[in-house]
């Protein structure tokens, strides 16, 4: 039985095959560079009706996402916060450490990091009803607060202890629901799930039905009926300013929402979600960074449309 036959490898055919192989290997890179630039967004926020999206650049759209303008931030932005009572005020958490503040919608910036610990600022939030009260999460350190719009900072609380370890705060949002301690809540997303602390900073605790007092005597309080999926990091959190019991969360499994302050959650959109923001007036108007693109919903997440990122 004759064995297999192979074409004779001439010098010319060797060069031809080699050239083809190099071309095939190079193809993905060529295709990649031919794609439109669409950097992954890591943070989103509304400034009034305008949209802010932070990735390798910080972008602003004043026309509902049709066109975008790059803003001159001093460093790569990891987190954004705005406040309905202060249009134009933007707080940015920086990858280089520290926070930056803009009072003109992002056109000009100044550093506001005096007294703040060194380290990447993974999350920022502005207190509901107190536009000068700012919170910042410093990676590997803890939760810091400023009562004067970033002029001075002090440690508010160490990081939460969850699943036998101290956890960084990947997401922060001020939730304007009474804590029962004369203030309101700060909800936080960590690599090990959701937690929250009253703004008196007494202790990190799980979300429980009812107010803090119910949590304290909750030998008889019912457990959360539908918590966020265990074991997933929470990349972003947003509480609707116009309806603070409405929360949105961005997880690797998608966008989730709660209508009761975080006790019962439902799955709104499937995909790898890294950021979510909710409109200051319309709690059903949300934008999300999902699977590398930007999506928008105006009906609380029932239907979504794609937004161009650049």
């Amino acid at each position: 039985m004759p064995g297999p036959t192979y074409p004779r490898l001439t010098r010319r055919s060797f060069l031809l095959y080699s050239g083809t192989a190099v071309g095939v290997l190079a193809l993905p890179k060529v295709l990649h560079s031919a794609e439109p630039l669409r950097p992954a967004m890591v943070a989103l926020a509304f400034d009034g009706d305008a949209l802010l999206a932070a990735g390798s650049d910080l972008l602003r759209s004043d026309d509902g996402g049709s066109s975008w303008t790059a803003l001159p931030v001093p460093a790569v932005v990891l987190a954004l916060a705005t406040h309905p009572e202060r249009p134009g005020r933007i707080i940015a958490g920086l990858a280089s450490g520290g926070v930056a503040l803009s009072e003109d919608g992002g056109r000009t910036w100044e550093g506001r990091s005096r007294g703040l610990a060194e380290g990447k600022v993974d999350a920022v939030a502005i207190a509901a009803g107190q536009p000068d009260m700012i919170y910042a999460s410093v990676q590997g350190d803890g939760l810091w607060k400023s009562e004067d719009a970033g002029q001075n900072w002090s440690l508010a609380m160490d990081r939460p202890w969850l699943a036998d370890a101290e956890r960084d705060l990947l997401a922060l949002t001020s939730v304007d629901l009474a804590s029962g301690m004369g203030g309101i809540w700060i909800y936080a997303g960590t690599p090990a799930g959701l937690t929250r602390v009253p703004d008196c900073f007494c202790r990190w605790q799980d979300v429980q039905p009812g107010d803090a007092m119910d949590a304290l005597v909750s030998g008889d309080a019912p457990p959360s009926e539908a918590p966020l999926p265990a074991g997933e990091p929470i990349h972003a959190l947003a509480s609707a300013p116009a309806a603070p019991e409405m929360l949105y969360a961005a997880l690797p499994s998608g966008i989730w929402t709660s209508r009761d302050g975080g006790v019962v959650w439902s799955h709104l959109a499937v995909g790898f979600a890294v950021a979510v923001a909710v409109h200051p007036v319309d709690p059903d108007h949300i934008v999300a960074a999902l699977d590398g693109g930007l999506k928008q919903s105006r009906d609380g997440g029932a239907t979504w449309s794609a937004l161009a990122a650049t």
């Binding site: 508010a156 202890w161 605790q205 803090a212």
Partner: protein, 161 residues
């Protein structure tokens, strides 16, 4: 004429200062008299008892001057939080009377599900009346602002007044 006006003005200022000082003094007396716990007035004897009980049972962790453990906002190696101050620099005055009583009697771990704390439960160590006296003593040390804030929190707390 000018000199007379100056003297009159000086006398008026001195009079106002005296009135202000008197008002402050009266406020200070009312401050001490006004301590309540769960809506009930607290007597001077109870405050004295509370001070002694605090020194014997609480001061070793929360500080002789209610100042808390050093660096109390930073977690211990055990993962637990140090004892916070009970003075105005801490957060005790954010909690309603009922909540303070429950935490002291049952311990934080007994009332926040799953929360681990070095704070022991004082049930069986102190009577309810003694816990009330300790907490009343702590409340009596707060400045007016913190006392007023905590009074509001207690008033808003269901069953707290």
């Amino acid at each position: 004429m000018k000199r007379k006006a100056t003297v009159l003005f000086g006398a008026a200022v001195a009079g106002l200062a005296a009135i202000a000082a008197l008002a402050q003094q009266q406020g200070g007396e009312a401050h001490m008299d006004g301590v309540t716990f769960l809506g009930e007035p607290v007597t001077a004897d109870e405050l004295a008892l509370g001070q002694d009980l605090y020194a014997a049972n609480c001061a070793s962790c929360h500080g002789a001057d209610l100042e808390g453990q050093p660096d109390w906002k930073r977690r211990l190696d055990s993962g637990r939080m140090p004892a916070p101050p009970h003075d105005e620099t801490g957060h005790t005055w954010h909690h309603a009377d009922r909540q303070l009583f429950t935490i002291t009697k049952l311990g934080v771990g007994g009332v926040v599900p799953g929360y681990e704390s070095d704070m022991p439960a004082f049930e069986g160590v102190l009577t309810d009346a003694e816990i009330r006296a300790v907490l009343a003593f702590i409340k009596s040390t707060w400045p007016d602002r913190q006392r007023a804030f905590q009074a509001d929190v207690t008033a808003n707390d269901e069953g707290g007044s």
